[in-house]
């Protein structure tokens, strides 16, 4: 469990990036932190594994205050997948890349071997085991970065802007993957501004603006509230956009799922024909 209490954070340049953020992330939760670029989402999330320490306020991860322990020990349970895989890749083979963190955490050699194989299978990278990560395509490199974090099986997974530059199919696979992790009981936190992606997954949503949390709730409600979204410079997902213009017909406004939309419309048509 991650508990952030009144977290304030200022960078060295004296810019206050977080102005008192309080949030609890329960084990096994699926959370999306959204907001405009510069709202403080990435800054906040870097407190979860101790990369950043609050200037005031506290962050407690699994009962341990982050200022009292190292990033390495926090990372053991909080895996952070950065936006750009090229900021992580450096090894000669994909295998070594995935083993890197395992070695850092002191896993035994045979365990490392097993974990690497497992991660490769999980992300369909088995054929690239001995390949240099630099020779892979953009999407494949993203999977290698992800595999290298999953390998040590952290309880919490943080994904920073995982959908950037991904095509439709890759995003679908990502959604499936997240739901799979969820089913395994992992806590998943994604930092994103991709409303359509969030609309697909429907997690709990936390909306940030200028260093503060301005809204919190289920995706369905947050993403369909035009005032909230306008304030935090997020656009409505397409389905919600359609329904916001159909309020004259008495349709509900908080629709983000395409199948639900279909049902509602057909019902309305059906009832009119009666």
């Amino acid at each position: 469990m991650i508990e952030a209490t009144d977290v304030r954070f200022s960078y060295a340049s004296k810019i206050e990036a977080l102005k008192g953020v309080t949030l609890t992330v329960k084990d096994g939760e699926f959370l999306a932190i959204m907001g405009q670029n510069g709202a403080g989402k990435s800054t906040f999330v870097k407190h979860f594994n101790g990369l950043l320490k609050p200037t005031s306020g506290k962050v407690i991860v699994d009962g341990v205050e982050t200022t009292k322990t190292s990033v390495a020990s926090l990372a053991r349970n909080v895996g952070f997948v950065f936006q750009n895989p090229d900021h992580q890749l450096f090894s000669e083979t994909v295998e070594e890349e995935i083993a890197f963190a395992l070695k850092n955490f002191g896993f035994a050699a045979d365990v490392i071997e097993k974990r690497v194989t497992w991660a490769l299978e999980l992300l369909s990278l088995a054929q690239y085991r001995k390949t240099s990560p630099f020779l892979l395509s953009g999407g494949e490199r993203k999977r290698v970065a992800l595999a290298s974090v999953l390998a040590w099986n952290p309880q919490t997974l943080i994904l920073d802007e995982p959908t950037i530059g991904q095509d439709h199919e890759q995003k679908e696979k990502l959604t499936q993957f997240i739901l799979q992790m969820q089913a395994q009981g992992k806590t998943v936190v994604i930092v994103t501004h991709d409303v359509e992606f969030v609309a697909e997954c429907n997690p709990r949503v936390v909306l940030m603006k200028e260093g503060k949390i301005v809204a919190e709730g289920m995706g369905k409600d947050i993403l369909t509230n035009p005032q909230i979204l306008a304030e935090s410079s997020i656009v409505l997902p397409q389905i919600a956009q359609v329904f916001s213009k159909l309020s004259a017909l008495g349709f509900p406004k908080n629709v983000i799922d395409i199948y639900e939309a279909e049902k509602i419309i057909l019902n309305a048509v059906g009832s009119k024909q009666r």
Partner: protein
């Protein structure tokens, strides 16, 4: 990253900042030349004090003093080496003239450092880049300079991100003996280098797409024009040079030892 703070130009507007960098450069080179002509304390002290009004006019006192502090260590080393070597050669005796000449050499070093510091503190990278472009230096050189300056903060941020990404995978940079600690930086250096290479390729693409190399006669949006202040500085510079040469040739300079 405090190292890079020194390079971050602060947008201050003062008469010194607005001077043409080329004229300032000529001034600094002249100071260099004069500092080398003399090996006695009095003229070198005079040169040092000459910088002060510029520093005050440009309102860069704090940064200038900070660079003085930075030079202090090396200055002390120069002094010690000179005194030390004269100590040995004079048969284990410390002679006042030797000390004085060691002091003079140290002062010369300080003058060289301080006058170039004033130059860089009062010249923005854009201004410097423009001066390079306008002074018949091949354009590629000026371009490389401004592009490098432009990307320094970008690379610094990226280095920080990469370190964060690897720390998040359990990398402990400060752990272990010297060799281990050096090896710890490999997961930081390789992505940084690879990223720099990728970045240069993307930049090259962008340059080509914007007609790089279309003509040898490149024009410029801006131009540097000389103003009254520039001519004044030029006059001062020439005055100093003439005076220095005259004094050097005809005026004997007393040493402090002599005066005491």
């Amino acid at each position: 990253m405090s190292v890079f703070d020194g390079l971050k130009f602060r947008k201050v507007y003062s008469p010194i900042h607005n001077l043409d960098p080329r004229v300032k450069f000529i001034y600094v080179i002249s100071i260099f030349a004069v500092a080398i002509i003399f090996a006695q304390i009095i003229p070198l002290l005079f040169l040092f004090v000459l910088q002060v009004p510029f520093v005050l006019l440009a309102r860069v006192q704090r940064q200038w003093l900070r660079s003085l502090r930075g030079a202090a260590f090396l200055a002390a080393v120069i002094f010690a080496v000179n005194v030390g070597s004269s100590f040995f050669y004079a048969g284990y005796k410390i002679a006042p003239p030797a000390v004085e000449s060691a002091l003079a050499l140290t002062l010369r070093f300080v003058v060289l450092v301080e006058s170039s510091s004033v130059f860089f503190l009062t010249t923005s990278p854009d201004h410097l880049g423009l001066a390079l472009e306008e002074s018949h230096v091949p354009y590629e050189f000026a371009f490389a300079f401004t592009t490098a300056v432009r990307f320094v903060p970008v690379l610094a941020e990226e280095a920080q991100t990469i370190m964060d990404a690897q720390k998040a995978r359990g990398l402990e940079l400060e752990k272990g003996g010297l060799m281990k600690r050096i090896r710890n930086y490999i997961p930081v250096l390789i992505p940084l280098i690879v990223s720099a290479i990728r970045r240069s390729l993307e930049l090259a693409e962008a340059m080509e797409s914007r007609a790089w190399g279309a003509t040898k006669k490149r024009t410029n949006l801006y131009s540097l024009k000389l103003h009254k202040g520039d001519y004044a500085l030029l006059a001062i510079t020439i005055g100093i040079l003439i005076a220095a040469v005259y004094i050097r040739l005809y005026v004997p300079i007393p040493t402090i030892v002599h005066l005491l």
